[in-house]
């Protein structure tokens, strides 16, 4: 397993949000985390990256990372596209991309940026523009490109479709599928749009009020009566 959570508790101040979660992301796997608003999906992502207080066990590539700082967790190969996209709005698009490769010492950064720009042609036209002037969809693409430039082993994506037009969402999921098919990167995807999330995932977990209510292959979860009614709307 690339990422393993065992009995993970986390919260904000005195408010506990996660009450002991077990979850695993296999090497090169795509895992979706479903759940209603406030179930603890974003909290799970933040706990993995050490952005909030947490207890329990988090293992990445076999090693405990639950005591590390965000910077050190990221440096081990976990890229996080946070909710709200985390754009450096005052910096240019190109500077945002360069920051994605900040931890890298190799010489392939420039060619990797080129590769990202062919994957996201909209960004290429706006390289010198202040990133805050991009549309929501473009900022989401920028966030994914920035995360991929880290050459991560695990990509955490928090609500990539949030607030975007259906066409843009399709484009983003098409690119995520390409990233998945290229291999080498595992995905942990938090999504409100459950049908999209299940279509791309191998396994899925359903989170309810801070606990895992259900888990299985994406197919099993998608067939489940309760999940369909609650998250798929049919």
């Amino acid at each position: 397993m690339l990422l393993e959570l065992r009995a993970l508790h986390a919260g904000y101040g005195d408010t506990q949000v996660l009450h002991g979660i077990d979850l695993a992301v296999p090497e090169s796997g795509v895992v979706s985390l479903l759940g209603a608003n406030g179930a603890g999906k974003t909290t799970t992502m933040r706990a993995i990256c050490g952005m909030i207080a947490r207890s329990g066990e988090i293992r990445f590539a076999g090693e405990r990372i639950d005591g590390l700082s965000t910077e050190d967790i990221v440096r081990r190969g976990i890229a996080h596209v946070p909710d709200g996209r985390g754009t450096f709005v005052e910096l240019t698009v190109h500077e945002n991309l360069r920051l994605g490769a900040y931890t890298r010492r190799d010489s392939a950064v420039a060619s990797d940026i080129e590769r990202m720009l062919t994957l996201f042609p909209r960004l290429k036209e706006r390289l010198a523009q202040q990133a805050g002037t991009l549309s929501g969809g473009e900022q989401q693409m920028l966030a994914i490109a920035r995360a991929m430039l880290m050459r991560p082993r695990l990509l955490l994506l928090d609500e990539p479709s949030f607030g975007l037009a259906p066409l843009i969402v399709q484009e983003i999921f098409r690119i995520m599928r390409r990233i998945r098919d290229d291999g080498g990167v595992s995905l942990l995807l938090v999504e409100q749009n459950a049908s999209l999330a299940l279509a791309i995932a191998d396994t899925a977990y359903v989170l309810e009020t801070g606990q895992i209510a259900m888990s299985g292959t994406a197919e099993e979860i998608g067939r489940d009566e309760a999940v369909r009614r609650a998250y798929l709307g049919y």
Partner: protein, 290 residues
């Protein structure tokens, strides 16, 4: 006409010193959104370190370099020890620390080095003035040093990875951590750089005004006016603003209000900018779509 030209040039050279200190202010403002009131006193302290080294027999430029290194270390240590614990404190707590720092640096400087005026050597010699008598060698030299510092800082922020990371850490610490930037280290680095830049300003102004523990008090006000005029969010603006304030101060002092009231010019500029154009000449108005 000759007189006006002289005032203009001398305004540009003192403006260069304001520009350096304004740049130091802007660097810390960018990183923390605080104005370090103690920046001037820290620079004075650094200048005394330089004087001590020179009097101990070090050649000027060796003393200069050692002073930069020491000042950098002092700045970084202040950030780690005093400012770090205040990271999540309300603004007033930080303001309190800045005022405390100002008083402590001022008193400690006086206590260690005494309050008597001390001459400070210029590395550019005493020889004949340049440009037909308009600029002294020190004025020309210090303008050159100031410009060199400004260009270096500009190149550092624009083209190096660490410079980019420093800007990122200041603008968006959460996202910076998520790309692996060690934000705390960047803040310490920013404080160190600001202290070193301030030290340059101190060493360049001291030969003109003589060294005493209150040397930078007025300079800080002008520098603050310059930073605001240029836009406190813009390093380039701080530099341009510093030069402009220098010129306004000199010409205004010579022809309008007289030298005794020169400092009011700084205050007028500060008030005028805040009333008329709070973002300053070059300050970035952030545009953002949601």
């Amino acid at each position: 006409m000759q007189g006006l030209l002289h005032q203009l040039i001398s305004g540009l050279t003192t403006g260069g010193i304001y520009a350096s200190l304004a740049l130091a202010l802007v660097m810390i403002y960018q990183a923390t959104h605080h104005v370090n009131f103690a920046q001037g006193e820290m620079a004075t302290f650094s200048t005394y370190i330089a004087l001590t080294l020179i009097e101990a027999g070090f050649p000027y430029w060796v003393a200069f370099a050692l002073t930069l290194v020491t000042s950098f270390a002092i700045g970084a240590v202040i950030e780690r020890v005093l400012m770090r614990p205040m990271a999540n404190a309300p603004v007033l707590a930080s303001v309190g620390i800045f005022i405390g720092l100002l008083l402590i640096f001022n008193s400690v400087t006086g206590w260690i080095f005494t309050y008597t005026l001390r001459p400070f050597p210029s590395p550019f010699g005493e020889g004949a003035p340049l440009l037909g008598g308009l600029v002294s060698r020190h004025e020309a030299g210090s303008a050159g040093v100031t410009l060199a510092v400004l260009v270096l800082v500009f190149l550092f922020f624009r083209f190096t990875k660490v410079g980019l990371a420093m800007r990122a850490a200041a603008l968006n610490p959460v996202s910076s951590r998520l790309v692996g930037v060690r934000v705390g280290r960047m803040l310490a680095l920013g404080w160190g750089l600001a202290a070193a830049i301030g030290a340059v300003a101190g060493m360049m102004v001291a030969p003109v005004v003589f060294l005493d523990p209150n040397m930078m008090g007025g300079v800080l006000l002008y520098a603050f006016a310059g930073a605001l005029l240029g836009g406190i969010t813009s390093p380039v603006g701080a530099v341009v603003g510093g030069f402009l304030v220098g010129v306004m101060e000199n010409i205004g002092g010579a022809y309008i209000v007289g030298t005794e009231l020169k400092l009011t010019i700084a205050l007028i500029i500060i008030v005028a900018v805040l009333v008329l154009k709070p973002s300053g000449l070059f300050g970035r108005v952030v545009v953002s779509r949601v």
